[in-house]
Amino acid sequence: MIRLNQLVATYTTVRGTVKAVDGVDLEIPSGNIVGIAGESGCGKTTLLKVIYGDLVYPLALDSGGVDYVFADDDRQEVTTETIQQYWFKRISYIPQSSMSSLNPVVKIRKQFVDFLEPKANKEETLDRVRQFIRQLDLPAEALDSYPHQLSGGMRQRMMVALATFFQPDIILADEPTTALDVVVQKGILLLLVRLQRQMQNTVLFVSHDMGVHYQISHRMLIMYAAKAVEFGESAEVFSAPLHPYTRMLIDSLPNIGDDHMRQGVSGRPPSLWDDLRGCRFAARCPLATQRCRDEEPAFIEHRPNHFAACHYAGDELPKVEPSA
């Protein structure tokens, strides 16, 4: 379980500080794949960085915090300040640009163990790694190669192997398949799902692609303009969304056999520099009233385990005539 307590994270810029994550407060249960979706700049990646404890300038934790409850270590308190010692042992990371995340001039074998303690038995670890990567449809020799000798898909499998080998409790994946073609992408996703089922770790999976989320996520977190707007079981979020933004995201997905023009979400998110008042989605929301513009909706549990921040959660959207 990961508990996010009123998390506020800021970036320092020449214009001042900007809140990229603004008061996210929720509890992520263990053993789930949690999909995080939202437009660019809504704070998905920042949220992952904070959870990972990668708080380097210009990113800083303004207030709130993260409680990590590791399955077999209840006594020790872990915070974003001390999580670093568990990097790749209990919490691991599959980066956004994973295609270029391997050092081109060093053999992969060395990159697999160079963060271990000097006294660790690296040869023995590597033997286990060789067996492990075979399960991931990677040849054992791939470990003795340089990155440029592997294809994009193999490199990405290697990143997944690296992130899962030490059986971490938490895996953060930041658009791990964006750079790959659809067929390879599917292979990687299935691999990730299979490994998660075996190891029962918590996977936080960021993607723009609602289709991908529908296929692999157990739970969905929808973010909008630095806030969490909806969080719940995937099945329910997709079948009965509470927040109008979620509904509009889902409505923008095409269905097979339906040749209607899809309705996108018109407009753009507000600038985080502005003085934001009321609901941040109000300007684009077909349901918005004066109340939405004045009063910020709280992030509350509308149905069991299904949270949303909307005054009119669950209301039907007005019918829009598809543009000709």
């Binding site: 990668d54 001039v105 160079d114």
Partner: protein
């Protein structure tokens, strides 16, 4: 396969550079409007007055042409020249110290220049890149900024001014090192090695100081850029220790363009050595070249120029050979 291809193409380029260089040195003087033999004869006539008969003059002309390798048509001369220079390493006799062959002078001078240049290039490359790496990797620390300032201050100073300043300070005011190089010929004893080091120290230092400023600046820029590469960021997120990130991730990648730059700069360094040797009367190839030009010794000039072309091209070729050792993308496919 890829490695062989790479080495093959480098070797072809090496041979081509040598061939073009040798060809240009052959044609360039011959395109000049003045004829060295007529010039020589005119000079002799001035000195000797009208005592030479026209027959003797013609005889002299033929003799001189043979001596200079100026017989026959341009093509014949060229083939003859290539044959002598490339295959036999024979540049003919020195005109000034006739009849000692030019090759003899070159063989005596070459080790001096190669030794001085080799040592100072390697030292300045290592020091410059080490400081640059620290300055680029720890770009927030004051120590690194200070080091960078050193590079920025030294780099734009013209070499001869820097060298003269050092001579003034270390050889004239403090007298720690000799003003000019004096080493007695003789067998290589421990004493002689000491004398060589003592005499070469200041010239080497000027070359090192002049060279490492540039290395600091370019390595700093490279290390700073490499630090932002996804594989370096990922290494940090894996929890790799900063020191190892610096060596295994940043240095290993940032050093590749630096090695190319070294190959490219060898020519310039050679020019610098010419000045160094003149300033310190250092008995190397540069001083020999100056003597040749000063005394109008054409053969010696040819010899030194060709040897410098060969040295620069060979050094660049060796660096090309080293490259696959540090970049596996060239070695393997």
């Amino acid at each position: 396969m890829k490695l062989l291809q790479y080495l093959g193409s480098r070797f072809v380029a090496y041979i081509a550079v040598l061939f073009i260089g040798v060809t240009i040195t052959f044609f360039l003087p011959r395109l000049m409007p003045s004829d060295p033999i007529e010039g020589y004869i005119a000079q002799m006539q001035n000195q000797a007055g009208q005592t030479i008969t026209p027959e003797a003059m013609d005889e002299l002309r033929v003799q001189l042409r043979r001596l200079y390798g100026l017989e026959g048509s341009l093509v014949e001369q060229y083939i003859n020249y290539i044959n002598k220079v490339v295959l036999q390493f024979d540049f003919g006799p020195s005109l000034y110290s006739y009849p000692r062959p030019v090759a003899e002078f070159i063989w005596t001078a070459l080790p001096w220049t190669l030794g001085l240049l080799g040592v100072s290039i390697v030292i300045s490359w290592i020091i410059g890149n080490f400081i640059g790496l620290l300055a680029g990797f720890f770009h927030n620390s004051r120590f690194a900024t200070t080091l960078e300032v050193v590079g920025v201050v030294i780099y734009p100073i013209p070499y001869y001014i820097l060298a003269l300043l050092l001579i003034l300070q270390f050889a004239y005011i403090w007298q720690w090192f000799p003003l000019s190089t004096t080493i007695r010929p003789g067998p290589l004893t421990w004493e002689k090695v000491n004398a060589i080091i003592y005499n070469s120290f200041l010239p080497a230092m000027t070359l090192i100081i002049a060279g490492f400023g540039w290395n600091i600046l370019s390595m700093k820029a490279l290390a700073f850029a490499t630090k932002e590469e996804p594989y370096v960021v990922f290494a940090r997120l894996k929890g790799v220790k900063p020191r190892r990130i610096m060596t295994r991730y940043v240095f290993r990648n940032a050093t590749l363009p630096q090695i190319t730059a070294l190959a490219l700069s060898i020519g310039t360094i050679f020019n610098g050595a010419l000045l160094t040797e003149i300033l310190f009367s250092y008995p190397g190839l540069g001083l020999l070249m100056r003597t040749a030009i000063g005394s109008g010794d054409f053969n010696l000039m040819y010899g030194t120029i060709i040897v410098s072309i060969v040295s620069v091209a060979t050094a660049a070729f060796f660096i090309d050979l080293i490259y696959p050792l540090i970049d596996p993308r060239i070695r393997l496919r």
